[in-house]
């Protein structure tokens, strides 16, 4: 039910976006999101974009996770 792959908005016409998921194009209504723009990544549920993905947060979370993980393993190596 919850397809979680972020989709890129490549075109907008009458509040309907053409979205691109790894090369596959389909349509999604933009009625439920504020200020959608071409180039935004959105999560699409049942034919509607339901939010925009925050790339900064995505990268920040990954960075923190990797740092936490390597910290432990670096400590192991020093033992």
């Amino acid at each position: 039910m919850c397809l979680a792959i972020p989709s890129k908005i490549v075109n907008i016409e009458n509040n309907v976006a053409t979205i691109d998921v790894d090369g596959v194009k389909r349509e999604a209504s933009l009625l439920l999101v504020e200020n959608p723009k071409i180039g935004d990544y959105v999560i699409v549920h049942a034919g509607f974009a339901i939010n925009k993905i925050n790339e900064e947060d995505a990268l920040e979370s990954l960075k923190l996770l990797k740092e936490a993980a390597s910290l432990i393993f670096d400590n192991d190596k020093q033992k």
Partner: protein, 364 residues
């Protein structure tokens, strides 16, 4: 965010490191529940259960919308499909759920007009193209889906469509958490909260639940790294005896959620009591169509009375949805109940716990 970052959320090396952290952190025997059906599927598909230490049990909760739809609602959908001038429109999973004496798929095979759609706007198009028919959309889903169905009612209203109707069998997630927390048998030490319901309702919607029950809660995304991270965060909270409400899916979920989607939902629907399969009646856990939009309310237009109806004999879906049983403990599992011939909804929906067990469990 490019697909490249998505791959990073599936990185096996990082997964291995997080699993190692979980193993080092986990001392107590704990029971964590993933409330959302998409989490259940992802946990199985990625083999996460088999990678966790024996101290951690993962239970699947009531977050598969088709699975928690009450038996009498399924029967009402089937009755509607039998009306001559009606076209039923629905998302796919629902059509195979057995009712008392049929399913939507059976009715379709007998010549009734049942159509699977991708979006509610497809149903609106069908209504436009069939002005002499009554098009009914079966409104099943949580807070993620309800705004999309509300948007279709607003669109029908603006288009002056008088042949589009919705039967609202929606369910709301936070009231179900209360039922799970209050049940003395469930003994859940922490909740992996759903990703996309949370996209809509935001972190703030869980605060009243969290403050009342003080149970560890982490909102999670759907990739393996997301789920492992949530399990690690919950394990730490439990080991430290410090329950928190945390969000590990910040790239998609904000504190306030999606106000535009919620205002669309609230324009059309109001909360109402609802009956859940397995969980029973939960106060204010459903949505009904407001009076202003009564012209689109299939329940009123077709005068649908929900009858008393029995759940299939021997089916343990109810206990499975509460985390009290796992599918192999059901006498029907893999015996009378298979994905080809399902008895209960948990075997029908691709997100159902029984279907996930059937597909993945024996291979792990």
């Amino acid at each position: 965010m490019s697909i490249k970052h998505l791959h990073e959320y599936r990185d096996p090396e990082l997964s291995r490191k997080i699993i190692e952290q979980i193993k080092r952190t986990s001392q107590k025997k704990i029971r964590l529940m993933e409330v959302c059906g998409t989490h259940t599927t992802s946990i199985f598909r990625n083999g996460i259960r088999s990678l966790l230490p024996e101290t951690i049990s993962l239970l699947s909760g009531p977050g598969c919308p088709v699975c928690v739809t009450a038996q009498n609602e399924i029967d009402a959908f089937i009755e509607l499909a039998r009306l001559d001038d009606v076209i039923i429109t629905t998302f796919g999973d629902l059509i195979r759920v057995p009712g008392a004496d049929s399913s939507l798929q059976n009715e379709q095979a007998k010549g009734r007009d049942v159509r699977v759609v991708y979006s509610t706007f497809d149903a609106i198009d069908i209504a436009k193209k069939n002005p002499d028919k009554k098009v009914v959309f079966l409104g099943v889903g949580f807070e993620t889906t309800a705004p999309t169905i509300a948007a279709s009612i607003l669109a029908a209203h603006n288009l002056n469509l008088n042949n589009y109707f919705v039967i609202s069998a929606h369910k709301l997630l936070p009231p179900a958490l209360i039922t799970l927390a209050e049940n003395p048998e469930t003994k859940i030490d922490g909740f992996i909260l759903p990703g996309h319901v949370s996209v809509i309702i935001g972190v703030e919607a869980y605060i009243p639940f969290f403050e009342q029950y003080n149970v560890p809660c982490v909102i999670a995304g759907f990739e393996p790294i997301d789920i492992l991270q949530a399990i690690l965060m919950l394990t730490k909270q439990i080991e430290d005896n410090a329950a928190k409400l945390e969000n590990s899916y910040k790239r998609a979920v904000t504190f306030e959620g999606n106000p535009k989607a919620r205002s669309t939902m609230n324009a059309v629907f109001e909360t109402a009591d609802a009956a859940w399969r397995g969980l029973g009646n939960i106060p204010l856990s459903g949505l009904k169509i407001k009076k202003e939009y009564a012209a689109f309310d299939a329940q009123k237009i077709f005068d649908i009375k929900l009858a008393e109806s029995e759940e299939p004999k021997g089916c343990a879906c109810g206990e499975i949805l509460l985390g009290l049983k796992i599918p192999p403990q059901c006498p029907l599992y893999k015996n009378k109940c298979t994905p080809i011939q399902p008895v209960g909804p948990c075997m029908v929906s691709s997100e159902g716990t029984c279907a996930a067990y059937h597909r993945y469990h024996d291979t792990q």
